[in-house]
Subunit: 334 residues, 2 copies
């Protein structure tokens, strides 16, 4: 058997997105917080879905989007996440594999259906997410393939994985294997409400074992319970090797020790649907970082990938990011 | 119970589309005929799907698209078609109902899964369709609700419905009920290969009971086995009350007895995916016709609806056709 090597292995909740348009009045009537991710049960999912506009279905899941993006850039990527052996599970499996990602997690054969996220996109392009975790609750330490983790330069995990009960055990096992193999561990904080749910555990995990942290401005401020971005930045810089802090139209700030690299956002984008912006920033940064680019250059690839994904509906790239990178940044694929 | 009235009831194969990009080399390697619809079995569907790019899923089905469009224009529309009680069946049911279409056909509870159509969109915006009929084969005369048909100004059926075994019986029953109630029957020829499969039956059915016929240039030429559009037009004009013949960028020709009305196509469209062009022309024409508009004006609404649907991926409108009609044609909804 040939030894496999991966730039990045992404671990997360394997979800199919159901994307519909909605207006602010609908969000208010349903008691939804704009731009947040809310966990819902099957009953609530069916009730909400019944009131939503006609939708389109696309594979999603935060780390799944990041993985699909890395493959689109030409990177070598693996994904670990749990679906059931149902129609949505087949769609998720097809899409991530067809994009070139290695995905070998065993499907569950009973219990909850494949997870779905009901995404409401308002005219201001913000997305409000309602996630039924379904089969994701079955992901556990037994699904972490040690050979894949040890063969990955970076193991990247989404904070959302703290929600299903066994997710954090899977998470910790993966981090231990990665570090034992001399590899890097990366985490995204996912969502400020997610940070609220697990602040202390996240702080502990970050301190003890995260090399590369991704967070947006709200998330990092929530983590350190401050209203000031600079204070949050000062707090995080001693905790991790690299912190990538995204700030929407203000671009991204990448911090390593005393270094601070600001990367501007792209301008003149027709923003249609912000779903996946953070996921695809991570895509670009991780691709760059694992392929020998410096922090600023990796950040630029991240900004480019995020700009592509917010210019259309859906959280995965609609064009080849590899070609886009060559065209826009004159970066040759590795 | 309040008496229900419908502008149009659409009957067809209830299908979820799986839309992916492909190049001409892929079509050639898979032995596919560009722009045609090919019937495939489950084994072939899985084999082809495994080689396709990541996709997006959207409800489809020719007559389903027409129905969704009529509702988007503000028309009163019912749909009859068969799905199974599975995840894709739930998606189809949600989407057509959420758009405002009455859809009450009982789902099948065993046997084949909900139908899907693997659609390959090439860079020239042509779509090549591969349909696994699945649960559609279960649609039969028992699914034709006589009250709905009798309450519909027009009953519109897709030629594709000739493919599943019981479809044509359902079709004939619906036509008989409609005529007995003094209503009109409409047929689309669907696809030139479909015409090849059922030419004599189609000719017979059209002669005996079709009031409004929809066909594109290839289909009407195939029906009368001529290479000349004018000959086909001459042949059809005595067979039906109204014939709507669509000619892509040459627009549409609407024929009633000795009258011939030419409606130009819209120009300056960024054509992305031609899936649904014919379905949405029928949408606009039927909406106009059942709401008191003359033939030319109805044809213009058809051209407008078709232009909208080919400007994006997917075969159902992405915006409110009612608002588009008010804006582009200054036509007030009825």
């Amino acid at each position: 058997m040939t030894e496999r090597l991966f730039d990045t292995t992404c671990i997360g909740n394997a979800i199919v997105d159901v994307i519909s348009k909605a207006d602010d009045a609908f969000l208010a009537a349903e008691g939804l917080t704009k731009s947040a991710m809310m966990l819902i049960d099957m009953e609530r999912a069916e009730e909400l879905y019944a009131r939503m506009q006609p939708g389109i279905e696309m594979s999603g899941g935060s780390a799944g989007n990041t993985a699909a993006g890395i493959a689109s850039l030409g990177g070598k990527c693996a994904y670990i996440g749990k679906v059931r052996d149902d129609q949505l599970g087949s769609i998720f499996t097809h899409d991530i594999r067809a994009g070139g990602v290695t995905f070998e997690t065993v499907k569950s054969t009973n219990g909850a259906a494949t997870a779905r996220c009901l995404i409401l996109v308002t005219p201001d392009a913000h997305r409000t997410m309602n996630t039924y975790l379904g089969a994701c609750i079955e992901l556990g330490p037994e699904d972490i393939d040690p050979d894949i983790i040890a063969a990955s330069k970076v193991t990247y995990m989404e904070g959302y994985l703290w929600d299903p009960e066994n997710g954090k055990q899977a998470f910790r096992k993966a981090a231990d294997i990665a570090h034992a193999a001399g590899r890097q561990v990366s985490l995204t904080l996912s969502d400020s409400f997610c940070v609220n749910r697990y602040r202390e555990e996240f702080q502990e995990f970050i301190k003890s074992g995260v090399d590369i942290l991704f967070a947006n401005e709200e998330e990092i401020k929530s983590l350190y319970q401050t209203t000031d971005f600079e204070s949050a930045l000062a707090a995080v810089r001693d905790q991790v090797d690299i912190a990538c802090l995204t700030r929407s139209e203000k671009g991204a700030v990448i911090v390593r020790g005393s270094e601070v690299h600001a990367v501007p956002a792209e301008t003149n984008i027709n923003v249609v649907d912000t779903t996946g912006a953070g996921d695809l920033f991570a895509t670009g940064f991780l691709y760059g970082h694992t392929n020998g680019h410096d922090l600023t250059s990796s950040g630029r690839i991240g900004v480019m990938a995020a700009a592509e994904v917010i210019s259309h509906y859906g959280a995965r790239p609609a064009v080849s990011l590899k070609e886009l990178m060559q065209k826009k940044l004159a970066v040759s694929p590795s």
